[in-house]
Amino acid sequence: MTTLTTEPHVTQTFPIKDTIWCAGCGHFSVLNALDGSFGRLGIDGKDALVVAGIGCSGTIQNHVPAYGYHALHGRALPSAAGAKMANPELTVIAAGGDGDGLAIGGGHLMHTFRNNPSIAYIIMNNSTYGLTKGQASPTSQGGFRGFAAREQVDPVMLGLSIPATTFLARSYSGDGDQLEQLTDAAIRHANAGRGFAFLEVISPCVAYNDRYHEWPAHLVDVARTPGYDPRDRAGVFTQLLSWDEEGRVPTGLLFLNEDAPLADAAGPAQQDVDPASNREAYRKVLASFQA
């Protein structure tokens, strides 16, 4: 008896090329965590869309074996929300930098919290515009390029102030294990249809705002904070404000609302519409115009 084996045919598509990032860039950790999450969560790349913004972070989709979309500057969130609305069966992950998500795209963040689409959003926060050579961003620390001490935007606090928010997390590219866990948790939250999963990753820019040496002293992991309850919104508010006063930056799963009703998925929107099978229904629409 002979056994014939044939290699499964696989159509070649885009090659995974080298990144444009500098050696030591925090974004490598984000990519590593995201890339690994597909395997850990059993997501087939053909059913996933990674939407990235513009900037150094806006190239991450080129290195993940999934469908990739390079959105306009600041528009990763509405693009991702549109894709998810149209096809809720997809895993939709938006990613981008702090300038992309909090400056030019800042308006969309508030409305994405509010609308609560089931997408994961990873904001790779290096507190500068790296690709255009080091200008200040909305999260730059006091003293950076003339930035005042209290000019920063904290997207987690913004999210906390919006009642519809369901998932807020922060991680650090220097802590690979935590980053993997939170990336998985964010994607799981979104894929369970529980709504918008927001993950900020402190991802230092080694070229223009290298603060790796400073961060460890400021970070506090809420998983190691006794009594911290991410489901207690008022408690989280109080604790985060208090850490902020002390100059400490909390990481981990900061806020979680799993009691919210599952996000409304109206779709999927039909892709293949057959005019013949819809004809009678269209006639009813036509009749609505009759006198």
């Binding site: 390079h70 509405p78 308006g107 009759q290 006198a291």
Partner: protein, 594 residues
């Protein structure tokens, strides 16, 4: 109590009734014309309406116009047979357009019209409608139904038909509102008796066998998108595009579709793009100021080769301009806006029927060629109501272009999202397809989607994208031009959108005066159709009628080879719709007639 201004009248038989009802915003003028439109449409007449409002919820001069005619009309006529005015200003504004025997229904609550204001022959039916409404029904608002009662008596419409129309129209309001409106109507009938209107002042022709439908251009366009398989729409409220969002929010969910209000136009166009990436036929709609914001998205769709329909219901600019007034001043923005060079198509419906057909075509074109397709409307085309024959739903075709199925992808050795092809269009996949993964980007890229600035690749990619329009033109895929009037005439006229109806009517009047004119109606304005340029260059004189001050349309044709010496501009940009006489006048004087 009431004034009798003339002895009993003799009814004049007409088949073309033009009416305006005006007052302060919130006086209910639009409702008067809506009820009249319902009644006259039942008589088998074609009904056309226009609104003239200010951008505010209440107050300010507001008017609604209605034309009911045996032949189909796409614009208001030059003369008004019936004027309903809740204040003197409305009468004064209407005087220049009064028919020789016009009926003027006037609310004299604040006093009578000055002696001698109305020309001889005009017939005044004055009653203190506002005061009656307050006295008997406690609210001044019901004066509009008193006016309706007087007008329907003047038109000889049986009282019971009017009551029926009200019951149908106001069913949703329920009691007691419907009852108050019916009482107000009776007050109107009573006032008409006092005014000795008798059997009516006009006798409007009835025609019959009406299967006709009544809808606006916005509704027809949205319906066209729906039947073309469009299943995703996003918009941000803006006059006069909001009706499209409203209509699609009502109907799309019933057909497995989604229509959403976005937080701004930037989000609207990018959400529509996101949906398009999943393979759903997607559209966004806006007007001038919103379109300015959307330019980044149009350029993105052009570069990234993403199918997208963008509706621009043009209104008076620049900037916020005159938001409720018609204009065609975004032509340059649609044809040339957006950073960089990229192919786009701009189509321009004229009639409500066109809006439906072109809605289908635009949706197909966007996917066939994977490009942004603009539908150039204007406040007139999109909001004015017309009564027309029902649309043909039996011959709708959907062209998915080069969308690859799983089997087709599996048969490929290699899949490149931006493969170089002879027609400029690359086969494409959508998420969910195995081994069809792609990188879609607005950056320049190699065929495999990876970003590059390689000069040789750049030249090839730009040429590839440019070939799409050549393919579309060569294959006859774009909405074709229509020739009206006398094809052999030496004098021509061109106009789109809100100029369409007035031009058609101007043609009839000119013909009656012995002047032969050919009307070329382009339904694609970018790329400029070759037959448009040839039409201009083969005539002695061509009048290009458009609603803007810079002659954007005519200059577009000149740029593409039309002879400027042949063109005479007819420009209107005062916020008023174009009228047939705007076209008749210049052509008649060119021909030596006054």
């Amino acid at each position: 109590m009431t004034t009798i201004d003339a002895p009993r009248y003799t009814a004049r038989h007409i088949d073309d009734l033009n009416m305006i009802c005006s007052g302060q915003g919130g006086d209910g003028s639009l409702t008067v014309t809506t009820v009249l439109a319902d009644l006259l449409r039942r008589d088998g007449l074609h009904v056309y309406t226009e609104r003239d409002v200010l951008s505010r919820i209440k107050g300010g001069y507001a008017a609604a116009s209605l034309r009911a005619s045996a032949p189909e009309r796409h614009a208001m006529g030059d003369h008004l047979e019936v004027v309903v005015a809740f204040e003197e200003q409305g009468v004064r504004r209407a005087i220049p357009r009064l028919a020789h025997d016009a009926v003027v229904v006037f609310d004299s609550s604040e006093g009578n019209l000055p002696e001698g204001l109305l020309p001889d022959g005009a017939r005044l039916l004055a009653a203190p409608m506002g005061r009656y409404a307050v006295r008997d029904l406690g609210r001044t608002l019901y004066k509009n139904m008193i006016a309706t009662g007087i007008v329907t008596r003047a038109l000889g419409i049986p009282d019971d038909e009017v009551r029926d129309a009200l019951r149908t129209r106001f069913k949703r309001l329920g009691q007691p509102i419907l009852g108050y409106n019916l009482q107000a109507l009776d007050l109107g009938f009573g006032a008409a008796e006092d005014l000795q209107v008798g059997e009516g002042l006009y006798n409007v022709t009835q025609t019959h066998g009406s299967e006709r439908i009544q809808l606006t251009g916005n509704e027809a366009l949205a319906f066209g998108f729906l039947v073309a398989g469009g299943r995703f729409f996003t918009g941000y409220p803006i006059t006069p595009a909001t009706d499209i969002l409203d209509w699609l929010q009502k109907w799309l969910p019933q057909f497995g579709g989604i229509a959403r209000q976005a937080e701004d136009e930037l989000a609207a166009i990018n959400m529509a793009i996101g949906a398009a990436l999943t393979g759903v036929r997607s559209m966004t709609g806006t007007s001038g100021p919103g379109l300015a914001l959307m330019q980044e998205g149009v350029s993105q769709a052009g570069s990234g080769e993403i199918p997208l329909v963008i509706v621009d219901t043009q209104r008076s600019g620049p900037s916020t301009g005159m938001p409720t007034k018609p204009e065609q001043s975004d032509i340059n923005l649609m044809c040339f806006g957006g950073n960089g060079d990229f192919p786009r198509i701009v189509v321009a419906p004229g009639s409500v029927q066109d809006c439906f057909e072109i809605g289908i075509q635009a949706t197909n074109l966007a996917e066939q060629f994977q490009i942004p397709v603009y539908v150039a409307m204007d406040q007139g085309t999109c909001q004015n109501l017309a009564t027309i024959e029902p649309f043909d739903l039996d011959s709708i075709e959907i062209d998915r272009g080069k969308r690859l199925t799983q089997e087709q992808v599996d048969a490929l050795g290699r899949y490149d999202r931006y493969a170089i092809t002879s027609d400029g269009v690359s086969p494409y996949t959508v998420p969910g397809t195995a081994h069809g993964m792609s990188l879609v980007t607005g950056n320049e890229r190699y065929p495999d989607g990876t970003v590059t600035t390689n000069p040789g690749n750049r030249r090839v990619m730009v040429a590839k994208r440019d070939r799409k329009l050549e393919t579309a033109v060569r294959g006859g895929h774009l909405p074709s031009s229509v020739l009206w009037g006398d094809a052999e005439a030496e004098i021509g006229v061109i106009g789109v959108g809100g100029a369409f109806g007035p031009i058609l009517e101007a043609l009839e009047r000119l013909e009656a005066r012995g002047i032969a004119v050919a009307y070329h109606q382009p339904r694609t304005i970018w790329p400029v159709p070759r037959d448009t340029v040839e039409f201009i260059n083969s005539r002695r004189r061509v009048f290009v009628a458009e609603l803007n001050s810079a002659a954007q349309l005519a200059k577009l044709f000149i740029r593409e080879g039309a002879d400027p010496a042949k063109i005479q501009h007819v420009l209107r940009f005062d916020g008023e719709p174009m009228r047939p006489n705007d076209i008749v006048g210049p052509i008649a004087s060119y021909c030596g007639q006054q």
